[in-house]
Symmetry: C2
Subunit: 334 residues, 2 copies
DNA sequence: CTGTTAGCGCGTTCAC
DNA sequence: GTGAACGCGCTAACAG
């Protein structure tokens, strides 16, 4: 790779001038500019962004940390963030924290040591205190899908409790009395918030929480499979299910539960109504098509990107919406 | 962020010594080593990897370029590659080329300017010549899902033609005579290879190609929807379909086609058999569960990562498998 | 408008 | 074992 020196020599100017035509940081006479550009082209010169980054303490790249790189949910998030930055000329460095505290911290430090201008964080295991410390080191970052009270101005979240409420309230309104619930890992904030919404709806309809209708899954397909097996084993009397509806903490688990229900010969929605959460891309491939709570993940990602564009790159961005509202996607599984 | 100078001052040694304990590049007396480590901890010091990278011309990170960041296919690929590098202590920088030549080139240059030690490329639009030039600049990179003759030692591919053959041959063996085909964009190598396999099977069973049974889609769900609409409109006489089986270039299109077929009141597999391609994660959520060709994308990603580990980071890796064989995943849609 | 000169934070000879 | 000095490729004052 040619360096800026070689370009300077070939063009017969100093290296500062080269820098100027690259960055348009000062006026350059048209004729010398042309010479420089010719030289750059001849040598196939590209500025070394590592060196640029070291010199300017800017990298034009923002770090993104999510829990997993796979799965429909995160890939949609990442995809949208990348798109947003791409047409702002910024780049993206992606890492996965695997919902594991040490890994999350290590990843954050990696992204910081990589000189990212800002970070977009979807972290689940790291503590609120840690995030606050990070903020005090005045590192620019936004938090997605988690609200830290002291950092509320940089949190972009979904009202998960409302989502949980919406799902259950809808079923109650349809006349269901016994509603089972398969949640994600309760230590995860979104999982517990969603369940909280479920309880809120029950309470509003004067129905008591029945712990035997609750199963804590893992947000994966298998969680739905095991959850359904567990719940139905506990409740089936004379081959009848002990509940008429099932709310799942996310779509993967709903799909898993649905598959098992199919295998048991249950007719959905006749024998059992199922509601998911997230509205991931495959949720309308299921049969019957899954009724679910829409998680506007793409918009949230976009908003996070705009937060960065506004606060770090000083672009003119109107308003930053920090709390998004979920809504019910009515399909055929109810 | 503390720098190496501050650590040196606090520990009362020179900065060279700090560098030595970090990189274990030369013996350091135990006592001073302890002092240094204490100082590093006290300051919360982390080496600035940008500076390291500039000094060593190594970044310990490898660039990955895929067509899209979203969708089940690429996210699984990325996820596996990241996992493989993670436990080798390497990092990953991801970019999307959007199947667009200019973007792909720009992305490659970005990754190179980012000082990546190696590149893993899934590119569709850039020319073979361009890739060869890249190789001549002796940049380390592997190519996924595309075979460039001159670069065969660094291509890791699936035998797409075999996959296409397998799908159609299976249907022929089951007695189907009229088999429709919805392909991906034919300028994409994998799409045309798969179709080639389809033709090969037909030929083997002495059935002539019927262009009216072919539709060129876009590898997206809508391609399946439109494709099925198109094919059935052209062929339905008296509300009867002109074909008994349908092969799709990938699972997304198969799911789209299946949904339309459902809407038309067709019974799958009774009225129509469908075969997909890729075996993406949602393919067993469809109803009926989709029969498809398994694309071992995770293994391919892993192998690409190992190629890099072996050739660039000089790790002991046994054998690099360069061509993978697809196989039929028999499920319920046939 | 353009050239000179310092750094940016770190790795790496080469002496001691 | 340890320190001083130089260089990685580029930007940013400061002169001119």
């Amino acid at each position: 790779m040619a360096t800026i020196y070689e370009v300077a020599k070939l063009a017969g100017v100093s290296l500062a001038t080269i820098s100027r035509v690259i960055n348009q940081t000062a006026p350059v006479r048209e004729s010398t500019k042309i010479k420089v550009e010719a030289a750059m082209k001849e040598l196939g010169y590209r500025p070394n962004s590592v060196a640029q980054s070291l010199a300017t303490n800017r990298s034009n790249s923002v770090g993104i940390l999510v829990s997993e790189l796979g799965g429909p949910f995160y890939s949609e998030l990442i995809s949208r963030i990348e798109a947003e930055f791409r047409n702002a000329g910024k780049h993206v460095i992606i890492a996965a924290g695997h919902s594991h505290e040490e890994v999350e911290r290590e990843r954050i430090e990696f992204l910081m040591s990589r000189n990212c201008d800002a970070l977009i964080l979807h972290v689940e295991s790291v503590s609120d205190e840690y995030l606050q410390e990070l903020a005090e080191q005045n590192k620019a970052f936004v938090i997605i899908n988690r609200s830290v009270a002291a950092l509320s101005d940089r949190c972009i979240t979904l009202d998960n409790q409302l989502g949980g409420y919406l799902a259950t309230e809808f079923l109650l309104r349809k006349g269901h009395k016994r509603i089972a619930y398969i949640s994600g890992p309760m230590w995860k904030n979104d999982a517990s918030e969603r369940y909280k919404g479920h309880l809120q709806a029950l309470k509003e309809y004067h129905i008591e929480e029945d712990i035997s209708l609750f199963y804590e899954g893992d947000f994966q397909e298998t969680g739905g499979v095991h959850g359904f097996a567990h719940l139905s084993a506990k409740h089936s009397k004379h081959s009848e299910l002990g509940f008429t509806a099932l709310v799942c903490g996310n779509d993967e688990m709903a799909a898993g539960a649905m598959a098992v229900a199919h295998d048991r010969g249950l007719d959905i929605p006749h024998d059992l109504s199922i509601v998911g959460f997230d509205n991931v891309n495959f949720s309308h491939y299921t049969y019957p098509k899954l009724t679910t709570i829409d998680y506007p993940i793409a918009e949230i990602g976009q908003m996070a990107a705009r937060w960065v564009l506004k606060h770090v790159y000083k672009q003119d961005i109107e308003r930053i919406q920090s709390v998004f509202k979920p809504r019910l996607m009515l399909r055929d599984s109810c």
